[in-house]
C-alpha cells in the first residue's frame, strides 16, 4: 500500500506534468518576489504590527456594555436594511432575470440590456454603490438600502436567469400547444420550475446582505457601522469590542435562520 502511494507521488513528477508544476511554482515565486520587493511598505511598521495589534486587543477588554441600547437599535436597523433591500431587489430582479435568460428573452436587444444590468450591478461593490448613494441622498439608511438593492439585483438576476435557462422546455412546449397565452405559459410552466431556486437564492442573498449591511455605516449609509465608526473615532475601544461581539451574534443568528428557512422551504 505504501508502495502504491509512493508510485502515485512519483508519477506526479514525470514528463510534462513536472514542467507544468515547475513553471507554476516559478510563477508563484516570481509573483511573490515582485510583490514583496516593490510594494510600498514601511518595514519597521510591519515588525511592529504584532505588538500594535496586541495593544489594540488589550484596550478592548473588558467590553463596555453601557451603550447596549443604542447597539441593539442599530442591530435592528441593520436587519431592516438587509431585509427591505432584499425584498425589493428580489422583485426587481425577476424581470431582469427574464430578459437575460436566453430562452425567455424577447429579442437580442433585451438580452443585451439584461446582461448589461447584471454585469454593471455585479461588478460594482456594495460599498462603492453606497458611496455613490450617500453622495446623492445624503448619509442615512436610505442610501444603504438602495446600495444593497443595486448590488443584489445583479446577483439575484444572474442566478435566477441561469435557473430559467436550465428549465425543462417540454412542459413549456406542451402549454404553448394548448393555446395558452405567453403570460399563462410563464405562470404555469416556468414559474413552478424556478420557484425552488428563487427561494434558495433569495435566502442566500439575504444572508449575504446582512453581512454587508454591517459595514454600510462606515461610509455613512446607516446600520451598525455608523456607531462602530463613531466608537472608533472616539477611540472608545471597549465599546468597539461590544459592537464587534454584537455583529458576530447578528451574523451567526442570520446564518442559522437562513439555514433553517432553506430547509423549511425546499
Amino acid at each position: 500500500m505504501k508502495q502504491s502511494v509512493a508510485d502515485r507521488a512519483w508519477s506526479r513528477h514525470t514528463g510534462r506534468q513536472r514542467w507544468v508544476r515547475f513553471a507554476s511554482l516559478l510563477a508563484v515565486a516570481a509573483a511573490a518576489g515582485w510583490s514583496l520587493t516593490s510594494i510600498d511598505i514601511i518595514w519597521p511598521w510591519v515588525w511592529d504590527a504584532p505588538a500594535q495589534i496586541g495593544d489594540l486587543f488589550k484596550r478592548m477588554v473588558p467590553p463596555d456594555v453601557s451603550a447596549i441600547r443604542a447597539i441593539t437599535w442599530a442591530l435592528i436597523e441593520t436587519l431592516n436594511i438587509a431585509t427591505i433591500a432584499t425584498f425589493f431587489a428580489v422583485f426587481l430582479s425577476l424581470p431582469v432575470a427574464y430578459i437575460s435568460a436566453q430562452n425567455t428573452t424577447p429579442n437580442r436587444a433585451t438580452l443585451w440590456l439584461g446582461r448589461f444590468i447584471l454585469v454593471s450591478s455585479r461588478s460594482v461593490n456594495t460599498l462603492i454603490w453606497a458611496l455613490l448613494f450617500v453622495a446623492i441622498f445624503g448619509p442615512g439608511v436610505l442610501a444603504g438600502i438602495v446600495a444593497i438593492m443595486f448590488r443584489s439585483l445583479g446577483f439575484l438576476g444572474k442566478l435566477m436567469g441561469e435557473a430559467i435557462e436550465e428549465i425543462d422546455r417540454r412542459p413549456v412546449e406542451a402549454l404553448e400547444a394548448t393555446g395558452a397565452s405567453r403570460a399563462k405559459v410563464i405562470l404555469y410552466a416556468i414559474v413552478p420550475q424556478v420557484v425552488p431556486t428563487f427561494f434558495a437564492v433569495s435566502i442566500l442573498r439575504w444572508d449575504i446582505n446582512l453581512r454587508e449591511s454591517t459595514v454600510l455605516g462606515l461610509v455613512g449609509a446607516g446600520g451598525i457601522g455608523v456607531i462602530l465608526q463613531g466608537a472608533i473615532d472616539m477611540l472608545d475601544w471597549r465599546t468597539v469590542a461590544t459592537i464587534l461581539l454584537a455583529i458576530i451574534v447578528l451574523v451567526i443568528a442570520g446564518e442559522a435562520l437562513a439555514a433553517w428557512l432553506r430547509k423549511k422551504v425546499i
Binding site: I41, I84, V141, I248
Partner: protein, 270 residues
C-alpha cells in the same frame, strides 16, 4: 363533444391545498410579516425634500463624471498594481495559515479541544466583513497596504480553511490507515496520506481566493487599507468624479478579466 355534460350530482369542488397546512400558522406568519414590513418601512426616515435635492445632486455627479478622465493614468496604475500586490501576498499568507487551521478544524483528524479552537478561528474570520477587519487594522498598523494584506489574509482563512476542512473531513480514510499501519509518523501520514487527496481542491481554492482577494482589495481600500480602493476614495473625497468614474471602470474591467481567467483555470484543473 360537449363540455356541458349533464350530471345528476352537484359539481365537485377543488381548491389548491395551501402552502402551509395549519391555518393559524399560515395567517400568523402572513400577518406577522405584514406588520414587520409596515413597521420597518415606517422606521425609514424618508425626507422627500432631501431626495428630490438628491436627484439634482445625482445629475451634478453624473455630469461631472462624464466623460471619465484617464489623465492620471499613472496614479491609477500605481493603485491597481498595489491592489494586485496586496491580493498576491495576502493569498499566499492566507493559504499558508489555512492549511494548519484546516487540519485543526477537521473533526476526523484533530482531537476535540483543537477542533473547537480551529472552528472558532474560522467562525470569527468569517463573521466579520473584511471592511470591519480593515478598519481595525488601519487603526492598529496605520494607513496603507499592510493593513490591507492583514485583512485579506484573515478573509482568505475564513473561506479557504473552511472549505479545506470540509474536504479533509471527507477524505478516503483507507489510504491514511494503510500508512499508519506501517508505523509512519503523524506528519508523514499527513504528507502522503492526506495532502495528495486535498491538493486538487487546494489549487482550485487558491485561484478562486486570489480572484476574491483582488475584488476585496478594491473595497478595503475605501477605509484606508491601500490599493485602488484608496485611490478611488481620494478621488471621491476631492469631488474628482470624472477620475472616480475612470477608476470604477478600470475596477470593473479588471474584475471581469480576472473572473474569466480564474474560471478558465479552475475548469482545467477540476
Amino acid at each position: 363533444m360537449s363540455s356541458n355534460t349533464t350530471t345528476a350530482t352537484t359539481p365537485r369542488q377543488w381548491r389548491k391545498a395551501p402552502f402551509i397546512a395549519n391555518p393559524w400558522l399560515r395567517w400568523g406568519l402572513l400577518i406577522g410579516f405584514a406588520i414587520y414590513a409596515a413597521w420597518a418601512i415606517t422606521t425609514l426616515p424618508f425626507d422627500w425634500a432631501r431626495i428630490s435635492e438628491g436627484m439634482e445632486r445625482a445629475a451634478r455627479i453624473f455630469g461631472g463624471a462624464f466623460p471619465p478622465n484617464f489623465d492620471r493614468g499613472g496614479l491609477l496604475l500605481k493603485g491597481f498594481l498595489e491592489s494586485l500586490q496586496i491580493a498576491i501576498l495576502s493569498t499566499l499568507l492566507g493559504l499558508a495559515l489555512s492549511v494548519p487551521i484546516a487540519f485543526m478544524a477537521a473533526r476526523n483528524i484533530a482531537p476535540l479541544p483543537i477542533y473547537l479552537l480551529g472552528r472558532i478561528l474560522i467562525i470569527v474570520a468569517r463573521s466579520f466583513h473584511p471592511v470591519i477587519v480593515a478598519i481595525l487594522f488601519v487603526k492598529a498598523v496605520g494607513f496603507g497596504p499592510v493593513a490591507g494584506i492583514l485583512t485579506l489574509t484573515i478573509y482568505s482563512i475564513g473561506f479557504v480553511a473552511k472549505m479545506l476542512a470540509e474536504r479533509i473531513e471527507e477524505i478516503d480514510w483507507g489510504q491514511v490507515e494503510a500508512l499508519r499501519s506501517t508505523g509512519t509518523g503523524t506528519f508523514t501520514v499527513l504528507q502522503f496520506g492526506v495532502l495528495p487527496q486535498i491538493m486538487p481542491r487546494q489549487i482550485g481554492l487558491s485561484i478562486y481566493q486570489l480572484d476574491s482577494n483582488l475584488r476585496a482589495s478594491a473595497v478595503v481600500g475605501i477605509v484606508g487599507a491601500g490599493g485602488i480602493g484608496s485611490t478611488l476614495m481620494n478621488a471621491f473625497g476631492r469631488y474628482d468624479y470624472d477620475f472616480a468614474l475612470a477608476i470604477t471602470l478600470v475596477i470593473i474591467a479588471v474584475i471581469l478579466v480576472s473572473e474569466a481567467i480564474s474560471g478558465r483555470i479552475r475548469k482545467n484543473i477540476w
